[in-house]
């Protein structure tokens, strides 16, 4: 497996979170390129590189940047999404605590490209320790005169998974409840207090310096045609060496698990992997053997790459209990705005609980699937549709385990 550290290159270096060490290892070098590049050219380079959003959606970053109006009379803003709350995902915190200056460098490049004078970093409230490291780095950057063209402000959330959804995040930043907004008819940028705004994940922004410094083609040397570059994939659960390890796209999932993760914990057999954060469909061991870590393959398998945070489960895990655990999560975290989601997450949680108490009938499994169906496609954001397919994937792929609870 090829060693490729485009984002995590400074992770192992001692005190890499300080400006001095970051600069000694090439930090902020990409900024020199801006002398020869217009903002529009920067957007073009990102488009050519094929960089995709790494917060879960995987949309083309360049296309998203292109939606920002050029020469807007209103101020433009960049918002960096560090509301990392998807179960199984813990990569952004590595960036902000081990190489915060890489994120700041990426923010400066991105702000230049979209002509924003102010960038906000929305960070989940629980990440206070990491926020402090990031704030120190920002203070250092201010003192060093690096932030003359763009201000950076950290905005702290206060415990709400849904604020990772970009429009809910903006609502939260406007001082409101984190309720996702209705989607516009055609593609357009986001709006913060009515001003054009770009929202990108921490890792997406941290990938920008390498691309601007080395060019789009250098980035495309890694990964596949449609999923170019690298990603900070992660493993947790029943794995010998859990953690975040950067790899290019397109590598075999099983090989990745063995190469970086040292295999399944205690030499047990693999039962299932949730590939990209809890909201992606679970894969059976057979499927894992065929899976590669790129957007297309996982989508074709009916799941998704998501955040790249894999939850690994060994042969002893009860899939009914695992689903119950996730449904509790979704029920707690539903923002409550749409009825199918607010009620559906609770109903499905209760139905699985009934199964676990061994009080359910075959009808209840069908009812569970019916509730899942009711949640799909009838809500403002993708939270409920994700819960819906998660339920369906668990029941479909491990139906015997569910029926054994009858």
């Amino acid at each position: 497996m090829r060693d490729c550290r485009l984002v995590s290159q400074k992770f192992e270096i001692e005190n890499s979170y300080t400006l001095e060490v970051a600069k000694a290892h090439g930090g902020y070098k990409s900024l020199e390129k801006l002398d020869q590049l217009s903002p529009k050219q920067c957007v073009e380079i990102i488009k050519e590189s094929g960089l995709r959003g790494k917060g879960g959606g995987g949309a083309s970053a360049g296309d998203k940047w292109s939606l920002m109006p050029q020469d807007s009379t209103k101020p433009s803003f960049l918002v960096v999404n560090c509301d990392e709350s998807e179960p199984g995902t813990f990569k952004d915190r590595q960036i902000i605590s081990k190489d915060p200056h890489l994120l700041i460098e990426g923010i400066l490049l991105t702000s230049y490209a979209i002509q924003a004078k102010h960038a906000y970093i929305y960070i989940r409230g629980e990440y206070k320790q990491f926020q402090d490291i990031l704030q120190n780095a920002i203070d250092e950057a201010y003192d060093a005169g690096l932030l003359q063209n763009c201000d950076i402000t950290i905005h702290r959330g206060a415990g709400a998974y849904i604020c990772g959804e970009k429009s809910a995040l903006l609502e939260s930043m406007e001082g409101k409840r984190g309720h996702p907004r209705l989607k516009p008819k055609q593609k357009e940028c986001e709006w913060y207090f009515g001003n054009p705004t770009l929202v990108n994940n921490v890792e997406t922004i941290a990938s920008v310096p390498y691309i601007i410094e080395n060019g789009a083609q250098a980035y495309r040397r890694f990964g596949t045609d449609e999923s170019p570059g690298t990603m900070l994939f992660a493993m947790s659960g029943h794995i010998e060496k859990p953690g975040v390890y950067e790899s290019e796209f397109g590598v075999s999932m099983l090989e990745y698990i063995h190469h970086f993760g040292g295999g399944i914990k205690n030499g047990k057999k693999l039962k299932a992997v949730i590939p990209g954060g809890a909201s992606t469909d679970v894969l059976t061991a057979d499927e894992v053997a065929k899976a590669t870590l790129d957007y297309e393959t996982l989508r074709n398998m009916g799941s998704a790459l998501g955040t790249g945070g894999m939850i690994v489960m060994d042969e002893d895990v009860s899939m009914v209990e695992a689903l119950k655990n996730l449904l509790e999560f979704y029920h707690e975290e539903s923002c409550g705005q749409c009825t199918p989601c607010r009620e559906g997450t609770g109903w499905s949680d209760k139905l699985v609980e009934k199964l676990l108490r061994k009080e359910a009938t075959k009808d209840d499994i069908n009812k569970l699937l019916e509730v899942a169906d009711t949640m799909n496609g009838k809500t403002i954001c993708v939270f409920a549709p994700a819960v819906s397919t998660v339920i369906q994937s668990f029941v479909k792929k491990f139906r015997d385990e569910f029926e054994m609870k009858l």
Binding site: G88, T89, F90, E126, N195, M313
Partner: protein, 145 residues
């Protein structure tokens, strides 16, 4: 009568310059109140409302939406133990059970803390304690209580 301390008043004035609208100050101000008072008293919401010109009911609506805000005084040490899948796979059930009968703390079963690679995890007073074992939990709490 609640009033923001001088450090916070200064911070609020600085923050006003960093946002396109004072509405954005709702979360930052709520955090200041919570650190200053240990929770968010209703009268503090009134003071805050006058300062940033957001109706008190709007502020309350927001404060009650986010799980990290305490709307009542916390007499016991709040201990947040993550119960979501990766932590569960790595033994959070045993930790939750172990702490259940501890009457010196307020135990909260919280959802994913983003520490899945170092599970199980708990958070006390903004600090993460990772790779927990029952012994580790005991010694951490002994020090904190």
């Amino acid at each position: 009568m609640f009033r923001f301390n001088d450090v916070n008043l200064l911070k609020i004035n600085q923050l006003k310059k960093r946002y396109p609208s004072n509405d954005a100050l709702v979360l930052p101000c709520l955090w200041m109140i919570q650190y200053q008072e240990g929770y968010i008293p209703l009268e503090a919401i009134d003071t805050m409302s006058e300062l940033i010109k957001v109706p008190p009911m709007e502020i309350y609506r927001v404060a009650s939406f986010y799980t990290m805000f305490h709307l009542e005084p916390q007499e016991k040490l709040v201990v947040d133990v993550c119960k979501t899948l990766s932590c569960k796979l790595c033994g959070s059930d045993a930790i939750l059970k172990h702490l259940q009968s501890n009457d010196k703390i307020r135990l909260r079963h919280v959802e994913c803390l983003g520490s899945c690679g170092t599970a199980p995890v708990m958070q006390v007073k903004d600090i993460y304690y990772e790779n927990l074992t029952l012994q580790k939990v005991d010694s951490i709490l002994e020090e904190l209580l």
